[in-house]
Point group: C2
DNA sequence: TATTGTTATACTCTATAACTATA
DNA sequence: TATAGTTATAGAGTATAACAATA
């Protein structure tokens, strides 16, 4: 309640939005999404969808719940993404024999082809990202962002 | 089409999702949103909404289109956010006398109070972010992310 | 009891297209 | 003609709650 607290509050209230990390995370995310959507609309897939295909390819037979864990989404959200990819004919669901509650996910042939195109798109997109950074910063940035979401 | 190209493609296709910067930007954005939503639900405002209030406070009388520019959203999206804040009674719109096509935005008294609470929440939230980084990284991260979205 | 998947539902953010009014 | 705002509409992503099947 004293002068020190007043000063602290005053300082915080007069700060500029440009100094807020969360604000820059939000804008960067938007810029990344926009660049991908605008430049690779022919792909017919979002970055998120390519990520899901990528993980199913990296971990064949992964359970839906584990896919959700790796992409940090709850069961219902995972359901939305997986169902859409199944509708597109890119993903196949199979009841697990180990634990019959679980679904094992696999890519279809079309899914493998779509992932290949998706990875090419993401490769180009990553080049664009890299071009906006100084040498060595790319890896630094990955490391710091990972520490935030891990 | 030669061996060099094959090798390059093979390398790209066998890479792991964890090395993709866009992937980490997405996860970090999700983590930031989730932390804010879970810890400051009592505020009744999203980070995005607080950002909008903050900018109107920083630039009193800012036109809707300029607010949109600073938050990198198109006219329609800006409309959605501004209308909601007006509904909440936090924002006031006034026809500009300079250019009668434009709207000037101002905070209401309630808006000023809400922004104060919002800034306190964001201040705590930023502390959480900082705690996940090493000394000096916070500023580095802001700088790099800014270079991506600028 | 706990976990996995499922469905219904709702909310935020985003964008396109077509329209009105002002410049 | 171009710009600012507006409305209608749609889609992606996210989440909560309640339910069924399985462990």
């Amino acid at each position: 309640m004293g002068v020190a607290q007043d000063r602290k509050t005053a300082h915080r209230l007069t700060g500029t939005l440009g100094g807020i990390l969360g604000f820059h995370v939000r804008l960067a995310h938007g810029a990344v999404n926009r660049h991908f959507a605008e430049n690779f609309s022919g792909l017919g897939l979002t970055q998120k969808q390519v990520s899901a295909l990528w993980l199913v390819d990296e971990f064949p037979g992964i359970a839906q719940t584990d896919l959700g864990g790796r992409l940090q989404m709850d069961r219902a959200t995972t359901m939305t993404i997986a169902s859409r990819l199944e509708e597109y004919g890119l993903l196949r669901r199979e009841r697990s024999s180990d634990d019959r509650r679980k679904l094992s996910l696999f890519l279809t042939e079309e899914g493998v082809a779509a992932l290949k195109r998706g990875k090419d798109a993401i490769g180009e997109h990553e080049k664009w990202l890299k071009s906006r950074l100084k040498p060595g910063e790319f890896e630094k940035l990955v490391e710091m962002l990972a520490r935030i979401h891990e």
